[in-house]
């Protein structure tokens, strides 16, 4: 086939041409990437219900007034953290604003990834920074004393229980329960109704799932992850006692499928009458008392149970941070200032209902009669929990970093998740608590070595 042989040179040319076509196409798309242009900003945020409401209200109430278009990227919690770390650590500047928590703010600020907000605050008198709850303000301030985040909503933790079930079984919930009292009540309330268990405690692996409530129990039992000089304490003293207590309680009287239950599963279990008590985030109350909830009006709220400390509730906030590499910092601040304002809370209250207000960050929210009326069952308990939380001093001994339900180092996400996988195995009965903690101690020690 001589004819075909001659043509093979053209074949190579055709391959090259096709390759070049791809190259040309690539060039055409160049304008699409990068940061947003003109009066528009890119916002990356976690997919929580409060953010979904924000997404709904932005075009009509923010863009219309300011002319700033907001492009939202919404992702689940773990994905959003990955993405934010990726974009902020490389200072790629694709996102002007991101939802970050009081866990990230201190070390993001230290790494120089965030824009300090003090200059904006100085010019923006309408924002009223002093209305923001002191614990929130403190947890979003960097080591250099500058403000690096403004809270969107805040939460602590407390104990929720079914008042009707307790009344029917003649049980009384103390105004400030201890963990031992809660364990006794869980035993008595277990089986109060067909298929109802005593208490729901998170058993799903994840540093933001099971580790959060467990660490508050550890704190009040006198344990800690690390001593002030970075000695890991995971398989000794209070940590061991607390973990054994937590795992025993959830195995004996906890929810079905505890090793896979996180916030969502417990919320669902509480709404469907599968558990009599639940220790979790204060923000859950909004859902339990919200429209269409079968348990609305039947739930009582008391402070986080304690053992050796006065209070044990955690402190957490989803806040806004502005990336240092952002080329639209002024527009970004306008958005943050709007989304974290008291005015935005009023907007949500009047358009979507007061139960859906992103609360837990401003003193004025708790003085608002409309909000008080809508959240009469829980607003006092929430406010007390948030204002009494003490991230600097959450346990019985000095800590190396601030933080109640976490240790404020980047390594904690991996450490917490790996330890929780061990402990989730203990809840499922695959391993024992001492064995799980021995393995965890080695992991914690490896992390601590870096800081000693």
């Amino acid at each position: 086939m001589p004819n075909l042989r001659v043509r093979s040179g053209r074949l190579a040319a055709a391959v090259l041409a096709a390759g070049c076509a791809a190259g040309v196409l690539t060039g055409c798309g160049g304008a699409g990437g990068g940061s947003a242009g003109g009066h528009s900003i890119n916002v990356l945020m976690v997919n929580n219900p409060q953010m979904v409401d924000l997404q709904k209200l932005t075009a009509k109430h923010f863009t219309k007034q300011t002319g700033i278009t907001v492009n939202f990227t919404v992702l689940p919690e773990n994905d959003v953290r990955d993405k934010i770390t990726q974009d902020f650590s490389s200072q790629a500047g694709r996102y002007d604003v991101a939802s970050i928590s009081n866990f990230e703010v201190p070390f993001y600020a230290k790494n120089g990834w965030l824009d300090a907000m003090d200059p904006f605050l100085a010019k923006d008198s309408g924002f009223d920074q002093h209305d923001v709850l002191p614990t929130m303000r403190q947890s979003l301030t960097g080591a250099d004393g500058k403000v690096y985040g403004e809270p969107f909503y805040g939460e602590s933790s407390f104990l929720m229980y079914r008042k009707d079930v307790f009344a029917a079984k003649h049980l009384t919930m103390p105004a400030k329960p201890t963990w031992q009292q809660v364990a006794d009540l869980a035993a008595k309330a277990d089986g109060a109704k067909p298929g109802m268990r005593g208490i729901c405690l998170r058993g799903q692996p994840g540093w933001g799932e099971m580790i959060a409530p467990l660490t508050t129990v550890v704190n009040t039992f006198g344990g800690t992850w690390f001593t002030k000089d970075w000695q890991a304490q995971v398989d000794s003293g209070g940590f061991k006692q607390a973990t054994q207590f937590y795992v025993d309680l959830v195995r004996r009287h906890g929810e079905a499928g505890a090793a896979q239950s996180g916030f969502t599963e417990c919320l669902n279990g509480m709404e469907q009458g599968k558990v009599a008590m639940w220790y979790d985030a204060t923000s859950a109350a909004g859902s339990l008392e919200g429209q269409g909830s079968p348990v609305a009006g039947k739930v009582g709220y008391v402070p986080a149970p304690v053992t050796r400390t006065d209070s044990s509730g955690w402190l957490y906030t989803w806040a806004w941070g502005i990336q240092k590499a952002s080329r639209h910092a002024d527009d970004a601040w306008k958005f943050v200032s709007w989304a974290s304002s008291a005015g935005y809370e009023k907007l949500v209250g009047s358009t979507l209902g007061w139960a859906r207000v992103p609360a837990g960050k401003r003193a004025s929210t708790y003085a608002n009669p409309d909000y008080q009326k809508a959240s009469a069952a829980f607003y006092r308990a929430t406010q007390t929990a948030i204002t009494t939380a003490d991230p600097a001093n959450p346990g019985v001994q000095p800590r190396p970093t601030p933080g109640i339900q976490f240790v404020d180092i980047p390594e904690f996400t991996d450490l917490g998740t790996q330890v929780s996988q061990q402990l989730s195995g203990a809840i499922a009965g695959r391993t024992s608590v001492p064995a799980a903690l021995r393995a965890s101690q080695r992991l914690a020690d490896a992390v601590a070595k870096k800081y000693r």
């Binding site: 004819n3 074949l11 196409l25 690539t26 990437g33």
Partner: protein
């Protein structure tokens, strides 16, 4: 015996189809009913999950994501088929020197786990300003699917009888004509099978899309994950989204079905 095999075949078929059917079924429930355990099969059906997918409560439209996915998948598939056909020709019909080495070189590029290339690709695309750009996805999907497509096209093109190529050459047909009017009709089932596989792979690709896209170039699988939340119920929404996002793949499968059956068995029996 035939009967037993028939029953087994049906059982396996149902076992494969059941999760898909369950996904569609769940997508038609309210969030509360979808999260009920054990499942309540008598719960009333609703289209709320689909309304949510199309942005009923957030106003976030799925169309930009679907269009990005379609662009990345269709353009990359087209490029892959053209390139693989030419490569297949050079490896099967007019084998270049040491064509087996070339073939295995193509395959060796698939031996590195994709995730190992992710970080370098991220950094390079950041440097050259291609992050969050749909054409980056086109290039990546083309590169990712090309080796397997070359192998497929190679085995399909080997089945093309040499006699008809010689006949075409004697009639004075030049290469483009030979490719278009002689080889393509004979190899059509193979081309369809290759194109379908590449389309499915790139439509479903999630790892690279999740890391390399953001505000403007997000693809449908990335959009799908945005319904997952750690605070609240999302099962019905995610199932509805997964159902809608599966439709183009199903449509492509049905469209290629006739050709595909021939294509998959082509070369199996001499």
């Amino acid at each position: 015996m035939r009967r037993i095999l028939g029953v087994v075949a049906w059982l396996v078929g149902i076992a494969f189809f059941f999760p898909v059917a369950w996904m569609v079924f769940t997508s038609l429930h309210s969030e509360q009913a979808a999260a009920t355990n054990p499942p309540d099969v008598t719960a009333p059906l609703t289209l709320d999950g689909y309304r949510e997918f199309f942005g009923a409560s957030t106003g976030a439209s799925p169309w930009p994501y679907l269009i990005n996915s379609a662009t990345a998948s269709l353009v990359s598939t087209l490029l892959v088929v053209i390139l693989a056909m030419l490569a297949g020709y050079a490896l099967a019909i007019r084998p270049v020197r040491r064509w087996t080495d070339a073939l295995f070189f193509f395959l060796s590029t698939k031996m590195l786990p994709a995730v190992a290339g992710l970080l370098p690709i991220y950094l390079i695309s950041q440097r050259i300003g291609l992050l969050d750009n749909v054409w980056l996805m086109v290039v990546l999907y083309t590169a990712m699917n090309l080796p397997i497509a070359v192998w497929m096209m190679h085995s399909f093109l080997r089945e093309v009888p040499v006699a008809i190529l010689e006949a075409a050459a004697l009639d004075g047909a030049r290469l483009p004509t030979v490719l278009r009017r002689v080889i393509l009709p004979v190899a059509a089932p193979g081309v369809a099978a290759t194109a379908l596989i590449c389309f499915i792979f790139s439509w479903n690709e999630m790892l690279f899309a999740r890391v390399l896209t953001g505000v403007v170039a997000g693809t449908a699988p990335v959009f799908l994950t945005s319904f997952v939340t750690s605070q609240g119920l999302f099962l019905s929404k995610v199932c509805a989204a997964a159902t809608v996002i599966s439709v183009p793949v199903l449509a492509a499968g049905f469209a290629a079905q006739n050709k595909l059956v021939q294509g998959l068995s082509l070369g199996a029996v001499k």
